[in-house]
Subunit: 237 residues, 4 copies
DNA sequence: CATGAATGAGCTTTCATTCAT
DNA sequence: CATGAATGAAAGCTCATTCAT
């Protein structure tokens, strides 16, 4: 791969975007250019990976020029990091918008599950980009100051849900929010991320609408069972 | 990515390798060269992906020459497909070696879980290569005649285990072997595959020995609960 | 290289700079910008050559913008020519300030030598820029109307010194001022200009203070000998 | 300029060339390719400097391909260093071929002078390449293990000449061989290297055949005078 | 006048692949 | 079968320069 160790300098227009000061036509056009590049890059890196994603392909898809990528993001890697940051930002934002009825923990739990499942389904780029980043052992994300310092809103929310549920005797008290969150994520993510090799491996398509609905129900059921209180579930001896 | 649409014809030595007929010194040396390339390619594709893996890097790591890759595998893509085939072959072989005590379904279930988890842990290349292939939407695996026609031995085995368990009232009868298998796979695969981004996202390392042991136990517990018979688990309404 | 054949028209502010008429605040600021660019360009062209000197590097070092270079100098080449003109102007100016005591020709000669040697030592950019221009076969200097029409003040001065010295029997009469001037220049320029390759070639540093002082004395001695009258120097047969 | 700090790996064919082992047709053709590139690079770097010399221009002039430059020399910088090494090698070789009649020190001295002057005249690339390297402060030469460890053959030869001359009372004994060598080099090198700017500066061409012959004679005369023994030259007080 | 964005040509370098012994 | 040289397309990136406020 050969990724330069340090991403180069900042994007001038970005600063303006943050301060929000300059709102002229030029600045708006510049922002539009930057956004177009970021969107195109998200799509193309998601489809081809970091190495497979071509700079020219991105700039063309953004109806801009290679040069602009370096102008705004410094390097291919800088652009890739920006894509990851935006990815996390949007995901956190979506999780933050989750409005849960804490008075009904069981329903709230189900909503978290369905939100996660649907987020993965509607944002396939989220999955492939994270896989690409894991292929690189998180090398790029580690360089980003904006990612990872704030833990997931959903984990925190889930913690509250569990707390209420335990208090009402609906859930057992020994499962942590993180474990439950990872269980939910794992079941959804793996199924969708690996659908191509799984289909080949199992010898049948697993991404038909019926199969997807079946799996979604299985997730809900499994998570509920994982949280069932001791009096309703006696561990098999 | 730019992958040639059709992989070219196989190399003659490959036939020999399969039949195992020619056992002369040259044939053995040839087989050694081919194997070295395959091993090097597995390592390097796993580390850098298909696009990121360089032909020269592979041939050097195999202490051979670029030319040999084309001789034995026709193209970079042909080599990559061979890597995938070998990957599946070994995995199937390992699953086939699973000796389960069907008289003790619960214990057999646990063994399947631990086998899967340990296979993923000990073969990190298995995970990254599958991710890479899923990035490509299974394009290469679809070209391989040797992969996917025989469904997983583990799913079949698991089917038998479940059958016995249900017969003895240990497991509920409404979960299919495939669902259980996917649950087991999902929990192990996702956790290990995504450990870099998860660590960044959650703000703490999740791949310490303690955390790994904790997750393994959580998988066992969760799968058991997913299979708990109706009389011990009343789904929360 | 790829230098446009014709340098474009000069910037308006340049005219102002020369006439010095407009003395408003803006004009002063403009002059400051122009000067800053010229100084930065001198430094950077001296360090990296014409091709190696980057426009952006210069504008940044001048705390200005690329655009300003084109505004004031028309092109990179125009800026480079302006640098050369300034270089010659300053050198001529310095030579013109030489106040020689013609009553003591021998002392005056020594002063010319020491002036030249010190000018080279204190203005290393002078040397590298001239070398760069010679690499280009004087292409740019030929385009400048302000360089080369007035011959060197020092050569003229040296002519007077020699004349006096010959009249007094101190110098021989067969050496021209130009030859003596070139001898002085050659010994100083070559030693300083080539100190890096010479050090490598000779296997020892030649730019220590001791070595420099030694060479300076050797120049003085050599030039004196070159001018020694016939009665004191009989050419070796 | 931005030169990579470390030149990359070696050229395979070069090793063969040194061992002289493989003398097949392929090896000879390879050597021819390498030599053609080296020759073309010498010419083009001499004409345009390191930054101004384009890789494509070189490969085309050598009737080869860009790729081959990287195959044999690793990088543009590696090629440039190889050019410098060859330059030094040839110069040392030429100096080594100097056959001096030590029985006639004065004649031998003149031969050294004429050899140096003629070498510069006939190898203008020698001068411009050294200037380019000095522009870079000897950065590349410092990386070469083959340059600079063996001091100049001419300096050693000159030392012997002087010794004999002093013994016979032809030369003074206070000038070192190095000083005399540098004087000879300076007068020739400077005159030829700076002929373009000097012509502009002095207002007349200095590279006509007549002027060149005049300067050559002046060098001989000046060096002789620099070596004249004390009894024939009384320094003007 | 200053400033940031845009432009497209062209740069060095790398790639997968093939040729020729 | 092995080996080193050759090939040409294309990659990431940089450059001088111009546009538009």
């Amino acid at each position: 791969m050969s990724v330069p160790v340090v991403a180069r300098a900042a994007a001038p227009a970005r600063r303006n975007a943050q301060t929000g000061r300059r709102t002229g036509i030029r600045a708006a056009a510049a922002q539009a250019t930057r956004d177009a590049i970021l969107r195109a890059a998200t799509r193309i890196f998601a489809k081809h990976g970091f190495d497979g994603g071509r700079v020219e392909q991105i700039s063309k898809a953004a109806k801009s020029y290679d040069r602009m990528i370096y102008y705004y993001f410094g390097s291919k890697e800088g652009l890739y990091i920006a894509v990851l940051e935006e990815l996390y930002r949007k995901f956190n934002e979506a999780e933050s918008r989750l409005a849960l009825d804490l008075e009904r923990p069981d329903k709230a739990l189900e909503e978290v599950i369905r939100f996660t499942w649907n987020y993965y389904r509607r944002n396939p780029e989220f999955i492939t980009l994270l896989n690409t980043e894991n292929l690189h052992r998180g090398r790029h994300i580690a360089k980003s100051p904006s990612v990872g310092q704030h833990s997931s809103p959903a984990v925190r929310l889930l913690g509250e849900v569990l707390e209420r549920g335990v208090a009402r005797g609906l859930f057992r008290g020994t499962a942590t929010a993180r474990d439950v969150y990872l269980l939910i994520a794992a079941m959804g993510y793996f199924y969708l991320s690996n659908r191509y090799t799984l289909s080949a491996f199992l010898g049948e398509r697993i991404d038909t609408p019926e199969e997807l609905a079946h799996w979604e129900a299985f997730i809900v059921d499994t998570v509920r069972r994982a949280l069932a209180p001791p009096d309703v579930l006696t561990p098999a001896s």
